[in-house]
Symmetry: C2
Subunit: 209 residues, 2 copies
């Protein structure tokens, strides 16, 4: 799950401190909670982590990359429960996702890094790999389960199946994000139920269109 070390470490010399890595990421999340995205500085994170500022720059190019990695691990918590029906599974994952977005670390960081990524291709790739794809996996997993249960038809064409999954993903993630971060209203069980009713009814129609 932690394959974020593209340049493989050389076999010689002093190895990088893994403890420092975790301390820095933890300090980054703490700083996000206390200061928020805009007032978070590299110097502050270094101080909190008990590490020199230069050590941060040896591992991350800047604030953007650092925060993405610090927040990404939180998305590992997301998982699709097996509650017996597609409707129950969707509602549960919606509530999970909303709870994650309501945490102060993600709340302040997620939109900020996405905003930065609109002008930084490498950052967009990093976000996609470490955050977005982890959510998307849940959609694919949920569809597979629903098909096994007979709740959803198996789409014959590979292409349309893929674009449908993309559509569903944007609808679910987009709606929850918009509700929490833009409308700034909480996602409770009732909202999740209403949303799921809408989505599943639409899903049936979308498959046959």
């Amino acid at each position: 799950m932690l394959s974020r070390s593209h340049p493989r470490p050389p076999r010689t010399g002093r190895p990088r401190s893994a403890a420092a890595d975790e301390a820095i990421l933890e300090a980054t999340r703490a700083s996000l909670v206390d200061l928020g995205w805009s007032k978070l500085t590299m110097g502050d994170v270094a101080t909190r982590a008990g590490v020199a500022k230069t050590t941060l720059y040896r591992r991350w190019a800047g604030k953007n990359e650092l925060v993405v990695d610090a927040v990404a691990v939180l998305f590992d918590e997301l998982e699709l429960p097996d509650l017996g029906s597609l409707s129950a599974d969707v509602q549960a994952v919606v509530l999970q996702f909303a709870a994650l977005l309501e945490r102060p670390e993600t709340r302040t960081a997620l939109m900020a890094v996405v905003a930065e990524s609109t002008r930084d291709e490498a950052l967009r790739t990093r976000i996609r790999d470490s955050i977005v794809d982890r959510q998307k996996r849940l959609v694919l997993q949920g569809r597979r389960r629903a098909q096994e249960r007979g709740e959803l038809p198996v789409e014959p064409d590979e292409g349309t199946a893929s674009t449908t999954a993309d559509l569903i993903f944007d609808v679910i993630a987009g709606a929850v994000v918009h509700r929490v971060l833009v409308s700034a209203e909480s996602v409770d069980a009732d909202w999740a139920r209403r949303f799921t009713v809408l989505l599943l009814a639409g899903l049936g129609a979308a498959a046959s269109a």
Copy 2:
């Protein structure tokens, strides 16, 4: 449409230059296109607008408020066409909204100011008043038209009708924003059609739940 002058101007003294206002907002949009949100500075905007930096600070508290106002006017372009059916109207407004989000000014600015607003209540209110509510109006307008056409039932209870409208708004705006800014894929006519099919089918079910 431009009621953004809470502190009403005093009856005496030199009046504020309306030309400078427009020059500053225009310069802000230009700077967003060239530099993006993170590299945009107050000094740069002042230089582009041909005004002193102090003049900016006399009117806006900072970068956040300035950019919100600069981008807000772009959302005035959004309007709900009357194409004869709810489906056609939704598709059209989705394409309009997507086109707006794909402009470099909004692309880089929108998520950034929303991110900032998570820690700034006043900024959140400003965004809501000058951006979000203008979109929400389209949803209410579209529902009213559809009810007049007989495409949608008139919901008896005022409360559930309101929460349903909120849900629809989060789904539409959220899905489009997520598609364009997170998934970073274009919203074409086909996507708009698929999305609308899903939404309208779900709408029927949501009303009766």
